[in-house]
């Protein structure tokens, strides 16, 4: 009897899940999929940012007289499931556009799906250059400054260090590998006699911090290029500080100034590292102050970089939809060509040539204030200033991707 009752309730749950929802015609549906459970530190603020943008847009009457509706799905943290979720959003929910994804491989799989099924996709966070270059396609645009762009933003500081011996440490997957490859290429061009004294490729999320920090110290580098982030970064910094690895060495580091990864460091923050990031409490531009005020009012919490990305994703889609009026994928692709968007970081554009947004990032030095990490001596680097020219990227993209 008991077993039967369970079976009935199970059947009910399944039936409820499979039933087709009614289509509401007075809204424009956007499907957002992301690894909310696998990467919560970034994506929790990201979701808040999206909700804030949605609220702002809909309180002003939506887009073209229709309210925007956001349908959010977890992609299960793997590409296979992400593609299924994308199909569900398109076929079952009838969304006009897809957005989201975090890890490179998931972003690439969904972008490829979008190209194959002719669905508009705005890759919000994945950083791999391949999404817009080697594997680029007509239906995929990308918001976030790429691995290439962020590495290029750090180059002036890296070259100014005049260091001959570099140590490289990076998570052993697409993001880390391509950051290091770009870094090596760029610095060799500027400084042909440069030497890479050690390269530590560590398993993502499983860094053996003591041994890696020691191996770097033993290699006696003049400077260190770091690509670690998240829990790996915190471990590495604590071990490095205790062992004196960073003493008298230039450190150039990707993403470490983002509150998601900087805040957990607290008093451990390695002062003086040159990083890309987001000093949320120190940016005084009117666009950012307006965003900050609205965000803090809604959540009584401060924004992380994820908040900016989520917020700008929705603002981008709204701008694109307002420009096209038509809701089919091809019109969206056309609308995004050269589309101008207002973001908390100021205005930027989606390039027609490689579908990459020119939204930049802040580059500065890590500093310690009242026991908390922050950025100092920073400036905004426009994405357009570090991207290759239209002619160059045309060679990088497959034929027929535009």
């Amino acid at each position: 009897m008991r077993a039967q009752a369970y079976l009935y309730s199970l059947a009910f749950v399944l039936a409820a899940g499979l039933s087709v929802p009614a289509f509401a015609q007075d809204t424009i549906k956007i499907g957002e999929l992301n690894s909310y459970k696998a990467q919560p530190a970034f994506l929790d603020p990201y979701k808040k940012g999206m909700d804030l943008a949605l609220e702002e847009i809909n309180s002003k009457g939506g887009v073209n007289g229709k309210k925007l509706e956001l349908i959010i799905r977890d992609d299960g943290g793997n590409p296979g499931e992400a593609v299924r979720v994308a199909e569900e959003l398109v076929t079952r929910e009838g969304v006009v556009a897809l957005s989201g994804t975090f890890l490179s491989n998931i972003g690439l799989a969904v972008a490829n799906f979008a190209g194959q099924k002719k669905v508009f996709f705005l890759a919000s966070e994945p950083l791999t250059d391949k999404i817009t270059w080697a594997e680029g396609n007509k239906y995929t645009y990308r918001l976030r400054a790429t691995t290439y762009m962020q590495t290029a933003m750090l180059m002036p500081a890296a070259i100014a260090a005049h260091a001959k011996r570099w140590a490289l440490v990076y998570p052993n997957y697409e993001y880390g590998q391509s950051a290091v490859a770009t870094f090596k290429e760029m610095i060799k061009k500027a400084q042909p006699d440069v030497e890479f004294v050690t390269e530590q490729a560590t398993p993502l999320g499983k860094l053996d911090a003591g041994a890696v920090a020691q191996a770097i110290d033993d290699a006696k580098p003049d400077a260190i290029f770091n690509v670690l982030f998240g829990g790996d970064l915190a471990k590495f910094v604590r071990e490095g500080n205790t062992r004196g690895v960073f003493k008298n060495r230039t450190v150039v580091s990707l993403l470490s100034g983002e509150p998601e990864y900087l805040d957990p460091l607290g008093a451990e923050t390695p002062v003086g590292w040159t990083v890309t990031g987001y000093p949320w409490d120190k940016i005084k531009t009117p666009e950012h102050v307006a965003f900050l005020t609205a965000y803090q009012k809604k959540y009584s919490d401060y924004p992380r970089l994820g908040s900016i990305v989520g917020y700008t994703t929705i603002k981008s889609l709204a701008a694109g939809l307002a420009k096209t009026k038509a809701l089919d994928a091809d019109s969206m692709v056309e609308a995004f060509k050269g589309l101008y968007v207002q973001s908390p970081f100021g205005p930027f554009q989606y390039r027609a040539s490689d579908h990459q947004a020119t939204m930049g990032a802040y580059v500065g030095k890590l500093a310690l204030e009242k026991g908390k990490g922050t950025m100092d001596d920073f400036k905004y680097v426009d994405g357009a200033s570090v991207l290759p020219s239209d002619a160059e990227v045309a060679k990088l993209r497959p034929a027929g991707a535009n």
Binding site: R2, A3, Y6, A16, G17, L18, K37, P40, A41, D44, D74, G76, G77, N78, P79, G80, V83, R84, V85, E88, T91, R92, S104, N105, L108, A109, F113, Q116, K130, E135, Y173, E174, Q177, T198, E199, Q200, A201, T202, P203, G205, D208, G210, A211, Q214, A215, D217, D218, G230, G231, A234, K235, R238, E239, T242, R243, G244, D263, P264, G266, E268
Partner: protein, 632 residues
């Protein structure tokens, strides 16, 4: 690289080994006595770090830190006792391995509970009061906390060793590890013994996690990150051997430290970055150890567990009713593309369910009738998927030819790995299959030029007419039906009887002239081959394939499906895979905390159907048949 640098890295390795030891020791004790493969052990470790963080921050100072660590161990121990009493005790009589399902559900629940309680951000605890600095050794600075860790693990080892050797509780534990039924028959209260062992194991995990609070941030991904390592250490050391666990922890930590110390080596014709081997070092060590010493370094052959579960019924050909039911379902599925005009997503989900069914059925073939619990079945899924994708992308094979080649690629892998695996049994076999799967995963992950590395192979879409979801669904259906019927045919052939004979009584089977190893090897290969079909279908269904398809998570998914359906019935994997795939798809849409919801639903199913869903249904029909006087 100087000698002093190497020696110093060896010291680093010792402190890492301490962390590994605590979690592995607890796991080993729990497995030894209760035979539960506790996947939630990593979750207890993670809880340890979080609780110790909170105590250190709330109370503060030396009391908060050091007192907090002790208190954390006690709290996590109490949580362990609670889990054993409330959950696990109810399902000891289920078929072997079934408790794994419950602990898997706990992983999901504990992870979401931790997210809810502590939030998504990493939490880096304070440095240890009194041991915040570093000491100088060989002209290098070693954190003094590392020195403390290096000392504390052997100290704990000695305490545990004496507790096991000299106390009554320890003697009972060792006795139970060898023969728990006999211990029960001699009047020892098993319930209390099991609860205390589980609590002790949990306490060690909590202590291990708490000790890390000064070294690394509390992080939500820790649970799954450490559990794999912990199993490796336990198996390399030998199940149930605490000293073995310490020895294995040291070997593995040292191998990794060595890889890191060596760094990039220029071999003239190519340069090898040894630090990349840390990805897979422990699994290579495990494979070598298991091949050379089947019971681990210090382990002894496991005593036979006389199964406490109900004996398995002999398999019977399908009854007319089951055949009818199968035919009706088949007709319904064939009509699905017509019915799905209004909701095309049904076909997408349906295809995923069919792929899961092939995956689970092939795993069940060796797990159930074969008695070989493979923890690395994803390897053959991945080989099939990568085989098909690469043959199409690089060799330019047409889609259907590539799909046909998928099972062949998987077969080659299964023949190779199976040859080694069938020489072991029980949990050692399971772990060797896991090691092979991890090695395949690492190979795919590292061999960027060929496999696309972490990005995988993208752009493998089916050719017309299969680019329509309806046609692809029918293709998947044809494969699934063929796979299920083929595997059934094997089971009812003399081969199947020989395989089960080898499972139930290897000695007697050998005595009547069955070459058990060879039969099991072939069974393993057949299962791998059929699993390859699922992989090939998966690659074309998603248009891409990346290393996740070979990850431990997928192997665990397979185990969950088989156990959920019921390992002792032939329709079990079909039911289990369907329920799990649909459930996961549905649940993920319902709530932000979908993992906890999925975990709770699995727990309910576990408690309601200790023989699996299909197992419960078939014993229900048997009972009904008996009542109404019909022939069962």
């Amino acid at each position: 690289m100087t000698l002093s640098a190497f020696l110093f890295q060896a010291i680093n390795g010792l402190s890492t080994a301490s962390g590994l030891f605590f979690i592995a020791a607890g796991l080993s004790l729990i497995f030894g006595v209760t035979r539960i493969v506790n996947i939630a052990h990593g979750s207890l470790y993670m809880l340890g770090t979080y609780i110790a963080y909170s105590l250190a921050m709330k109370i503060g100072g030396a009391v908060g830190f050091w007192g907090g660590i002790v208190l954390t161990a006690l709290i996590v121990g109490a949580i362990g006792a609670l889990i054993e009493v409330v959950l696990l005790r109810r399902i000891y009589r289920a078929p072997e391995l079934f408790q794994l399902l419950a602990t898997f559900a706990l992983v999901l629940v504990i992870n979401d509970a931790t997210l809810w309680l502590w939030g998504p951000e990493d939490l880096l605890g304070p440095r240890a009061p009194g041991l915040a600095g570093a000491v100088e050794i060989f002209g290098r600075r070693l954190p003094s906390y590392d020195l403390f860790l290096i000392v504390i693990a052997p100290a704990a080892l000695i305490v545990l060793h004496f507790a096991l050797a000299k106390t009554r509780f320890g003697r009972l534990m060792r006795a139970a590890t060898q023969d728990r039924e006999m211990v029960g028959a001699l009047g020892v209260n098993q319930a209390v013994l099991f609860t205390s062992v589980f609590a002790l194991g949990a306490m060690l995990a909590g202590l291990g996690g708490a000790l890390q609070v000064a070294r690394e941030p509390a992080n939500l991904a820790t649970d799954l990150a450490v559990i794999g390592d912990a199993f490796v250490v336990v198996v390399v050391g030998g199940m149930g051997s605490i000293s073995g666990a310490y020895l294995a922890a040291i070997i593995i930590a040292e191998v990794k430290a060595l890889c890191i110390a060596i760094g990039v080596v220029d071999l003239g014709f190519m340069s090898v970055n040894f630090s990349k081997f840390t990805l897979v070092a422990e699994f290579i060590v495990m494979a070598i150890v298991l091949i050379a010493r089947p019971y681990g370094l210090l382990g002894k052959p496991q005593g036979n567990v006389r199964s406490v579960a109900e004996p398995e019924n002999p398999i019977r050909p399908a009854t007319p009713m089951l055949k009818m039911l199968g035919a009706v379902i088949l007709v319904l599925l064939l009509a699905l593309p017509l019915m799905a005009q209004t909701s095309p997503y049904l076909l997408v989900l349906g295809t995923d369910v069919l792929i899961a069914v092939i995956f689970a059925t092939s795993l069940h073939f060796i797990m159930g009738p074969g008695g070989m619990h493979s923890f690395g079945h994803a390897a053959y899924f991945g080989l099939g998927a990568y085989g098909a994708a690469l043959l199409m992308k690089l060799a330019g094979l047409p889609m259907l030819a590539a799909l046909l080649a998928a099972p062949l690629v998987a077969l080659i892998g299964a023949l190779l790995f199976g040859w080694f695996a069938v020489r072991l049994s029980g949990v050692y076999l399971a772990m060797l299959t896991l090691a092979f799967a991890q090695i395949v995963w690492a190979l795919v992950f590292q061999w960027e030029g060929f496999t696309g590395g972490s990005n995988g192979v993208i752009g493998v879409w089916p050719a017309a007419p299969f680019d329509k979801s309806g046609a692809y669904f029918l293709l998947a259906l044809a494969c699934a039906v063929a796979a299920i019927l083929l595997l059934r045919r094997f089971l009812f052939a003399p081969f199947g009887y020989a395989m089960r004979a080898g499972r139930d009584s290897p000695l007697r089977a050998e005595a009547i002239g069955i070459d058990v190893k060879r039969i099991h090897w072939l069974g393993f290969a057949i299962a791998g081959c059929v699993c390859g079909i699922a992989g090939g279908l998966f690659a074309f269904a998603k248009g891409s394939i990346s290393p996740e398809a070979i990850s431990v998570t997928r192997s665990i998914d397979g185990l969950v499906m088989v156990l959920l359906g019921g390992i002792q019935t032939l329709v079990g994997p079909v039911v289990g895979a369907s329920v799990y795939a649909v459930l996961q798809d549905t649940v993920m849409r319902q709530t932000e905390y979908w993992r906890a919801l999925l975990g709770v639903i699995i727990l309910v199913l576990v408690l309601a159907f200790p023989q699996g869903i299909a197992g419960a249904l078939s014993s229900l029909t048997r009972k009904l048949g008996r009542k109404s006087g019909g022939a069962a």
